[in-house]
């Protein structure tokens, strides 16, 4: 009898103790770091990241980094937050840059100014493309280092431009051009069914914010404590979009990935999307296409986006080791290597002089459009607020409601009230 009891107790202890087994132990003298990283499209990019991290590990013998693929941006943030709450945050992570305020709210990350000062302070910061540093700053400190950065750009199908008699070297420069070109590019069959759209703009705050800025509006404030959506400018944007949807030259509601597939399949003539989609589009379309700046309206303006490196609060030695890793990853040759594989914009100016990268941009001048846009056009910050995931969902679903036919005034009013409620702790 007592044997049975013993057996039961042993089984329970065994099961419980399994939970406490540790993963890899730090070897003597080597600092072991865990890095979370997201990539939009798994596979090729994850392999590239792993091989870059392996090269870093080979390049020195003080720090060993384990790269942990964490899904998309949202999943990576969920995992990092959960791990932080459980007391085991990653040492370093690539996360969507606007999550900065959330990471500060939960007190998870460290400022990087001390490290930056060691590298030469301002001169080190100046090595980066200035538009990418905006979103890293908050309260006079720098909290993250740019890594995979992008801007929305315009893709257009030159074959279709030629077919309908448009100049393939003259992409639409204004909203009016965009509408007129789209009318020409749209193909409708005898039953009234659209077989080719003029333009596709996916429902996404990241494409909505530049439109709003172009119309002279504002979305998030500098401090990230308020968004303004119930404004005359947002009505201008929605009326412009609804106009094109009602004319049947643009589909009213399409999701991000669908629009990219539509462009590569020739279902749309013009596409709003990230420069990060360039490599994918280049490899999967048979059409002759080009990239261009976003069309302007009252202002010629765009925004930036993408992921940055953050260092989580751990120990002094781990934080310093994480910085060493980030410094290596953002060397011009390495940021160029990441761009070649992904289509993201190199984050350092010097990367554009790396021979391999020059060779690439000579062959694919489309890749330079985003960089030129950053340098020549006003570039504002990506939408960054506290509780940003909720605000993102709110802006997206408000757009979906309005494009789906809901009453404009009532929907905007309700959205504003919801936004104020979400951010009420910061008023």
């Amino acid at each position: 009898m007592s044997k049975k009891i013993l057996l039961i107790i042993l089984t329970i202890t065994l099961i419980v103790s399994l939970g406490w087994t540790e993963g890899k132990q730090e070897e003597k003298g080597v600092i072991y770091l865990r890095m979370y990283y997201p990539v939009g499209v798994a596979g090729a990019l994850a392999k590239l990241m792993d091989s870059m991290v392996a090269d870093f590990n080979k390049s020195q013998n003080e720090v060993y980094v384990e790269s942990i693929f964490a899904g998309g941006y949202r999943e990576a943030m969920e995992k990092a937050q959960t791990a932080f709450l459980a007391g085991k945050p990653p040492d370093v992570a690539v996360l969507d840059a606007p999550t900065l305020l959330t990471l500060l709210d939960i007190n998870a990350i460290i400022p990087l100014d001390t490290f930056i000062d060691q590298e030469g302070g301002k001169s080190y910061v100046d090595e980066f493309i200035p538009a990418f540093m905006k979103i890293a700053r908050h309260d006079g400190k720098i909290w993250s280092i740019p890594w995979q950065r992008s801007t929305p750009i315009l893709y257009y199908n030159r074959d279709f431009f030629r077919e309908v008699g448009l100049d393939p070297e003259k992409p639409p420069a204004t909203w009016d051009d965009l509408r007129n070109y789209s009318r020409k590019l749209t193909k409708t069959d005898t039953s009234g069914q659209v077989s080719r759209w003029g333009v596709e703009i996916a429902i996404n705050f990241w494409l909505f914010k530049p439109l709003l800025l172009q119309a002279g509006g504002e979305l998030d404030n500098e401090a990230g404590t308020k968004i303004s959506i119930d404004t005359p400018e947002s009505r201008v944007v929605f009326n412009f979009l609804l106009g094109m949807a009602n004319e049947k030259i643009m589909p009213a509601v399409k999701q991000w990935a669908e629009t990219v597939n539509d462009f590569t399949a020739g279902v749309t003539g013009i596409l709003y999307n990230s420069t990060g989609a360039l490599t994918h589009i280049r490899k999967s379309t048979k059409y002759d296409f080009n990239t261009a700046f976003l069309p302007a309206y009252k202002r010629r303006v765009c925004i930036e986006g993408g992921g940055n490196f953050f260092i989580f609060k751990t120990t002094k030695t781990h934080e310093a080791a994480a910085w060493k890793f980030i410094k290596w990853m953002t060397k011009p040759e390495n940021t160029a290597r990441w761009s070649l594989g992904s289509g993201y914009i190199p984050v350092k100016k010097a990367a554009f002089n790396i021979p391999e990268y020059k060779e690439y941009t000579d062959k694919w001048p489309q890749a330079l459009t985003a960089y030129k846009q950053l340098m020549e056009v006003d570039t504002e910050r990506n939408m960054m607020t506290h509780r940003v995931n909720e605000i993102v969902k709110l802006v997206n679903s408000t757009t979906e409601e309005i494009m789906g036919g809901a009453d404009l005034d009532a929907t905007l009013k309700q959205a504003q009230a919801k936004a104020d409620k979400i951010l009420e702790a910061y008023q």
Binding site: I8, T11, I12, D105, H386
Partner: protein, 289 residues
């Protein structure tokens, strides 16, 4: 003494897991539902019933609830009646009957995540499989997942398609367990097809029907995979179901307090529902001895 304790000792391992994975989380959720706990309040603040009041005032919550009720009711009614109909037909079929069984059961063995991906591709507007064939037949294209009025029904269709084969197999087992003599007796007494179904067949399979009804409720309230993969609750929350909403609030938005409140509401709702079902319908079920 030990003799009396013995059965409890045997229950201990199971109880251990129940406590850790069921009872503790349930009570923890109820406890947390009284706190404001999100990224604006990183350390939790006791606020009484304010989470409940916030939710009841939030139109999104009511929309999610409405979606969940529509989803559950329609999947239950449609998939159960279709499954029963198919089971009766398959039961009559003599030629290639295993082929039909396998064909209808097939969706059950595909993981929901994979099935959702396949359906997402079929639902692609304009050139997806469904729109392609609709176009060939001369129908207008339908934007299956992006139209707020249709998207929920597209999700429901996947839910029905996924489970119908499983329910059909269960119904079939019930039908084949009915003693042939009962049916023969009914025929001798002059009962027609409809009478045979309503007075003999249906009462005889009532324990199966009840079981399928219960797992159907569970399956429909647990629906999250296809929402996560196909629509992420959109467009405009039109396909957001209760479990996905909990996930979204608790993990994506990090609103731990609201997530716990939603969980508590779901638990209470399920307790009331299940006890009601067992008291009202459960008693009328015939279990053969």
């Amino acid at each position: 003494m030990l003799k009396k304790l013995k059965p409890y000792l045997y229950l201990l391992p199971a109880l251990f897991f129940l406590i850790i994975f069921t009872y503790y989380p349930v009570f923890r959720a109820i406890y947390l539902s009284f706190f404001k706990w999100n990224t604006s309040y990183p350390s939790k603040v006791f606020t009484g019933f304010s989470n409940y009041i916030d939710l009841f005032k939030n139109p999104d919550f009511w929309k999610v609830l409405k979606n969940s009720v529509i989803y559950s009711l329609s999947t239950i009614v449609i998939s159960m009646s279709l499954a029963l109909f198919l089971a009766i037909q398959v039961n009559k079929v003599l030629f290639m009957s295993s082929f039909y069984k396998v064909a209808l059961f097939y969706p059950t063995v595909i993981p929901m995540a994979a099935a959702a991906l396949i359906w997402k591709w079929m639902y692609i507007p304009d050139y997806g499989l469904l729109d392609f064939f609709l176009g060939k037949l001369g129908f207008p294209n339908i934007n299956w997942l992006n139209n707020a009025k249709i998207a929920l029904w597209s999700i429901i269709a996947v839910g029905i398609w996924k489970y119908i084969g499983y329910y059909m197999i269960l119904f079939l087992a019930g039908l084949q367990n009915i003693p042939k003599s009962l049916i023969d007796a009914a025929i001798v007494e002059g009962a027609n097809g409809r009478q045979r179904f309503s007075y003999v067949i249906f009462p005889m399979i009532s324990s199966y029907t009840f079981f399928i009804f219960i797992i159907n409720i569970i399956n429909s309230l647990q629906a999250i995979d296809q929402v996560y993969i196909m629509t992420q609750g959109g467009p405009a929350n039109s396909t957001n179901l209760i479990v996905y909403y909990i996930y979204e609030q608790a993990f994506r938005f990090w609103n731990r307090g609201i997530g716990a409140t939603l969980t508590t509401i779901l638990i209470i709702f399920l307790l009331v529902l299940v006890s009601f079902i067992f008291r009202s319908i459960g008693r009328r079920v015939y279990y053969e001895v």
